[in-house]
Symmetry: C2
Subunit: 112 residues, 2 copies
């Protein structure tokens, strides 16, 4: 459970950067080499590589080096963690008594 939380944290941190989200989007179309990916972003290769490493170390992608080319593959299962978290939030707020609506309708009631 703590483990789960650490993983979730890594996934959210990885996705908090627009470049990395774009990479995820790009890899949704299929595997791609680091160089081909990098060409689409306005930064140097070493900078881009850091994003690749972040995505990989947080499990969102896997990479395989063959010859001098490193190919990146999306790891879709990892994105499911976000889905799960959202589902849990929904479960929480659907399970509660309807205090939110009460509050919005009549704020006084909740600050006695």
């Amino acid at each position: 459970m703590a483990q789960y939380s650490v993983q979730l944290d890594g996934v959210f941190v990885a996705l908090a950067d627009p470049t990395r989200r774009a990479v995820v989007g790009r890899l949704g179309h299929g595997p791609m080499s680091v160089g081909d990916l990098a060409r689409e972003f306005p930064m140097t290769l070493p900078s881009f590589m850091k994003h690749v490493r972040t995505l990989e170390s947080n499990g969102l992608i896997r990479t395989i080096k063959s010859g001098r080319v490193r190919t990146c593959v999306l790891n879709r299962e990892r994105l499911a963690l976000v889905d799960d978290w959202l589902a849990e939030q929904r479960r929480i707020w659907e399970g509660r008594t309807d205090r939110l609506e009460q509050f919005v309708t009549d704020p006084e009631e909740n600050t006695p």
Copy 2:
């Protein structure tokens, strides 16, 4: 669309911190004052307040001050942005030809 991306970015940044995710979870049960929320986290009130401000400025919660008490309310609609993003990712990878499976099955084929 750029606007959308900026908002999405804020949401992911806000959710990248475990304290802030926990606050979102906590507020799923209903509105709560800053003080009551803060009591559940191992940090000082000023530190905690920064998280509250981050959540608020990124639209994940709203806060209302009444007297000396500031009450926090979850803004569920904002979380839907994450849902939408995930849905788009799914749309992308379902729309593509099945290169991922090919790659996983036979990596050589994709690095000619």
